[in-house]
């Protein structure tokens, strides 16, 4: 148990002043601006928005600066700020079909209508350090190609037409919200998806990887991965109709998994789904795999006892702010607790040593 202690104010003030100085770094090096972080460390900003569960690139960049690049600390700052905001309402579900795609690839259909668009990807780079960047190398300008705008229908809709893919059931218009109600189990799919999209990227990745290595036996293909911007629309009571209140960059991943059929379902493909704020491709794919593994019950599959199938295990350990809060609190003063532990261990030792002596004497 954590027990409040008094004292140490001066030491704490000095620690905070030193923290600020260390954050600034050497004064002969130019200070990093929030705009630089927003523009040049965009993937870090994206991760903070996704796991901080608040889309605001300026705030996320500020949090990264304040947290000295510790992204979990930055996410913590964003989560804390988020709680101070009044909620104006909920958006109508974003229409990812109309996404303005920067990237869109399918691993299952090479001739996807709308085309395969690589976008600004790390794929196909050689992962060799580029020393030109250390020497102020100028970036080449990206080529452009004029093209008639093409619609990019979801790949999944083609399978849907043939009934080869499990249909997605409708759900209530207002989904459960774990930022308002504590997470309770069993969680329905909307609640699981909310938990996964704001969950720790490393944790979700590890869980997803475990399913690929055989823990849950779900062999997934990426039917489609798309990254781009979507408008966010909300009903405005004072207007009496819905308007766009902004736009967000999203990464969406739809996976298709083979499914032999069960007592209740015919053989068909099943879906896993990932949708994440920003360009967070690894996270979106991971989310889709874990989503699929957690669906064993509704698809009538066997629980093979894999960690990724265990909703309590996954959902209660995915949140890095909950995790780090509980983990890091053990470094705070526990003197009273520890004092009683100390008393106990001394007593036990006295008794044990006493017994040994007694035995030796006999």
């Amino acid at each position: 148990m954590y027990v409040a202690v008094k004292g140490g104010e001066k030491a704490i003030d000095a620690a905070h002043a030193w923290l600020a100085e260390e954050r600034r770094g050497p004064e002969d090096v130019a200070e990093l601006s929030v705009d630089q972080i927003k523009g040049q460390l965009k993937l870090a900003v994206n991760r903070v928005m996704a796991e901080g569960s608040l889309y605001d690139p300026d705030l996320a960049a500020l949090a990264i600066k304040q947290a000295r690049g510790d992204l979990i600390e930055a996410i913590f700052l964003i989560r804390a700020y988020r709680t101070t905001l009044p909620r104006f309402g909920g958006s109508t579900p974003v229409d990812t079909e109309t996404m303005a795609c920067d990237r869109r690839v399918s691993a299952t259909f090479k001739d996807a209508p709308g085309g395969q668009v690589l976008g600004p990807t790390f794929d196909y780079t050689h992962r060799l350090l580029d020393f030109k960047l250390a020497a102020d190398g100028e970036a080449p300008s990206a080529p452009e190609r004029a093209e008639m705008p093409e619609t990019k229908p979801h790949i999944m809709s083609f399978l849907d037409r043939e009934d080869l893919i499990q249909p997605e059931p409708e759900g209530p218009e207002t989904p459960p919200d774990l930022t308002r109600e504590p997470l309770e189990l069993p969680a329905n799919r909307p609640l699981r998806l909310q938990s996964l999209t704001r969950g720790d990227e490393g944790f979700i990745l590890g869980m997803a990887y475990s399913t690929q290595r055989g823990y849950a036996r779900n062999h997934a293909f990426v039917a489609e991965l798309r990254i781009g911007t979507c408008a966010v629309e909300m009903d405005i009571p004072e207007l009496g109709f819905a308007i766009e209140v902004g736009e967000v960059e999203l990464t969406e991943c739809e996976t298709v998994n083979q499914f032999q059929g069960s007592k209740t379902e015919p053989p068909q493909f099943t879906r896993g789904y990932g949708l994440v704020f920003g360009m967070c491709e690894r996270k979106a794919i991971s989310m889709a795999l874990v989503d699929r593994a957690l669906r064993w019950k509704e698809l009538g599959e066997d629980n093979v006892g894999a960690p990724a199938q265990d909703e309590e295990f996954v959902l209660y350990h995915a949140d890095n702010i909950q995790a780090t809060g509980f983990l890091e609190h053990i470094k705070l003063p526990h003197y009273v607790d520890f004092q009683s532990e100390l008393e106990l261990i001394r007593k036990l030792r006295r008794e044990a040593i006493g017994n040994v002596r007694q035995e030796a004497a006999e």
């Binding site: 928005m49 608040l54 889309y55 605001d56 300026d58 705030l59 988020r82 905001l85 009044p86 909620r87 104006f88 309402g89 909920g90 958006s91 579900p93 990812t96 303005a100 795609c101 090479k110 085309g115 395969q116 668009v117 690589l118 976008g119 600004p120 990206a142 080529p143 452009e144 190609r145 004029a146 093209e147 705008p149 999944m156 997605e168 759900g171 209530p172 207002t174 989904p175 919200d177 930022t179 329905n188 799919r189 909307p190 998806l193 909310q194 999209t197 704001r198 966010v232 909300m234 405005i236 004072e238 207007l239 308007i243 766009e244 209140v245 902004g246 736009e247 967000v248 789904y273 704020f277």
Partner: protein, 151 residues
């Protein structure tokens, strides 16, 4: 505007442009246009959050994806028109200017306001979008399936 027969289509379109525009761009155009209409503030600018939702599998049950920051404001012109501003981010001036623009767009001055504020913002957004689309198009590939080793 889009021929859908929605009586609110035109207003939706300008509100969308104002919501998605950069606060600095709106401010610059507003200052340049020099509008200072008499008005009362019905709702002072307020920063808040909107819960963004998605759908399971893109088409199924709605779920909560996460929030985004939004600032809102409502004004009434001396001539009676009520304007609402809902803008992305935390720009209070942005929200006020959007609300005033929304109100002015309902007056006889609408064509001038459209030309001075809404059209430049819409053009800038369109140009930005077209540039990204053109860059994306340049990365479009055709994958060829190589013939596998014969069995």
């Amino acid at each position: 505007m889009d021929g859908s027969g929605d009586p609110n289509a035109a207003r939706k379109a300008w509100l969308s442009v104002l919501a998605k525009a950069q606060a600095a761009d709106v401010a610059a155009l507003w200052v340049e246009a020099g509008y200072a209409p008499d008005h009362e503030v019905l709702r002072a600018p307020e920063i808040g959050a909107v819960m963004v939702r998605g759908r399971a599998g893109a088409v199924g049950a709605p779920f909560n994806l996460g929030e985004m920051t939004v600032t809102r404001c409502s004004v009434r012109l001396a001539s009676g028109e009520v304007g609402h501003g809902y803008v992305q981010g935390r720009g209070k001036d942005h929200a006020v200017q959007a609300a005033l623009t929304d109100a002015l767009m309902q007056t006889a001055d609408a064509p001038a306001v459209e030309a001075a504020i809404v059209a430049p913002l819409r053009d800038a957004a369109g140009a930005k979008r077209a540039t990204r689309a053109a860059k994306a198009a340049a990365t479009k590939v055709n994958f060829f399936t190589m013939v596998r080793g014969e069995d």
